[in-house]
């Protein structure tokens, strides 16, 4: 009983030891800049990934700054990027997304900020003996499934991007077609009216064309 509690506690403590990861999708309005901050301990392997899902030319400016405002990673007008880093100093790291170069397109941005490794299941990792075949196989399966979920996320983002573009195109085709038909009607009727006007009897003039 006592040992059970200890195991759980150790598990939660390990969980606390700076392992966190969050995926967010948010809308960045035009001419706006959004920043996210995270306190990271030194030596905690972290990674940042972003992707522009919809909007304008599918590009955004990204800047990752360290505690002393030093620039660790910077991309201008990129659609997709990934950066892994291990901080050398403990402090507040900030990642800023800027859409200030765009005048009217707001962008949907996906960001994945992982700090530290994934928290282990309670009980795992406290062995003083090597893991059994069963345990190591199940760990391998877990890691593989993590990759599958990760690939699914990327696939979903790409599919969302293509789908929104296709829906956009569908709408635009309709507008274009209606507009062009109206244009043809206006021009043909206009032509006839202008031509008739050339041949119109002016007051006191004889039509002699």
């Amino acid at each position: 009983m006592e040992r059970g509690w200890l195991v759980v506690l150790l598990g939660v403590v390990c969980w606390c030891a700076g392992a966190a990861g969050v995926e967010l999708t948010f809308e960045l309005p035009d001419n706006a800049k959004e920043c996210f901050y995270e306190e990271i301990e030194k030596g905690t392997a972290s990674s940042l990934e972003f992707q522009v899902v919809t909007g304008g030319h599918y590009d955004v400016d990204v800047v990752l700054e360290g505690p002393s405002r030093q620039i660790l990673y910077r991309e201008i007008k990129q659609q997709y990027g990934q950066f892994q880093f291990t901080p050398e100093t403990t402090g507040t790291y900030q990642v800023c997304f800027s859409n200030e170069f765009s005048t009217f397109s707001h962008k949907l941005i996906y960001v994945d900020f992982q700090v530290g490794d994934e928290p282990q299941l309670p009980g795992v990792g406290e062995h003083f003996t090597a893991m059994t075949q069963m345990e190591s196989s199940s760990q391998k399966i877990h890691e593989d499934l993590n990759s599958v979920i990760d690939y699914q996320t990327h696939h979903r983002l790409r599919e969302a991007q293509s789908r929104k573009r296709a829906e956009d195109l569908n709408e635009r085709v309709l507008f274009w077609a209606v507009g062009e038909t109206l244009g043809i009607l206006v021009i043909t009727v206009g032509q006839v009216m202008v031509l008739k006007n050339f041949f119109a009897d002016k007051k006191g003039n004889q039509a002699s064309y």
Binding site: W15, F26, E34, P122, G123, S138, I149, A160, R163
Partner: protein, 216 residues
């Protein structure tokens, strides 16, 4: 004695874990996040609200009774969750339809404009990441291997749901593309017809006009 110390340490740790990612918003501003999830997926979010204290120049836990209003809308714009929570805590919801869910956060400040800055710590977990295995192991008295198998089952469950959702989305995408293709074809044919019809009408109209003018 050791147990007690560990307990205290543990509770301190649990509190500090919410100190994950944070961002700043104005007191009257709204911040929305979008989660595209399959149906029957649980989403859990931990948050903490802090108010800017001009005296210290830092962010202090709000003692002005500032709460966090959370609004969750499902893909059909129905309100799944709309509640005011305290300045620190967590909320959970489960999706019933697949698609884009919008989670909006704003403080329940009564100010009409400006106000001070707020720091919001936010940690959102979806699907199998939202499940707390530590408490599950404790409650159901599972061994390590049993817990691991449970975790694998949850992961595979999530993968299956996502694949189903993917199939539904791909069908929508295919329908949109086919509709565009059909529209382009019909409009091309239609416009040629309109052009021919208008050309014919023009000739007929003008001929009548010139005949009336005795020029033809």
């Amino acid at each position: 004695m050791m147990g007690r110390v560990l307990m205290i340490f543990l509770s301190l740790c649990v509190l500090s874990v919410v100190e994950g990612l944070y961002f700043h918003i104005g007191e009257t501003e709204r911040k929305c996040f979008i989660e595209e999830i399959p149906d029957e997926t649980m989403v859990t979010a931990n948050y903490k609200l802090q108010l800017y204290d001009p005296r210290t120049g830092g962010y202090m836990p709000s003692n002005a009774g500032l709460g966090m209003h959370v609004e969750v809308k499902d893909p059909e714009d129905n309100m799944l969750l709309s509640r005011v929570y305290s300045s620190e805590g967590r909320f959970t919801f489960t999706s019933h339809t697949p698609g884009e869910h919008v989670i909006c956060l704003f403080s329940n400040s009564t100010k009409w404009f400006s106000g001070s800055m707020l720091r919001v710590h936010f940690d959102i977990q979806v699907g199998e990441h939202a499940i707390d295995y530590a408490s599950m192991a404790q409650k159901e008295k599972l061994t390590e291997l049993q817990l691991r198998v449970r975790q694998l089952l949850d992961q595979v469950d999530q993968i299956t749901k996502e694949q189903n959702y993917q199939r539904y989305r791909e069908e929508r995408f295919r329908q949109t593309s086919e509709s565009t293709s059909r529209q382009v074809l019909w409009w091309a044919v239609g416009q040629v017809v309109v052009l021919l019809a208008m050309g014919w009408w023009q000739m007929r109209h003008l001929r009548k006009f010139f005949e009336a003018k005795k020029l033809v």
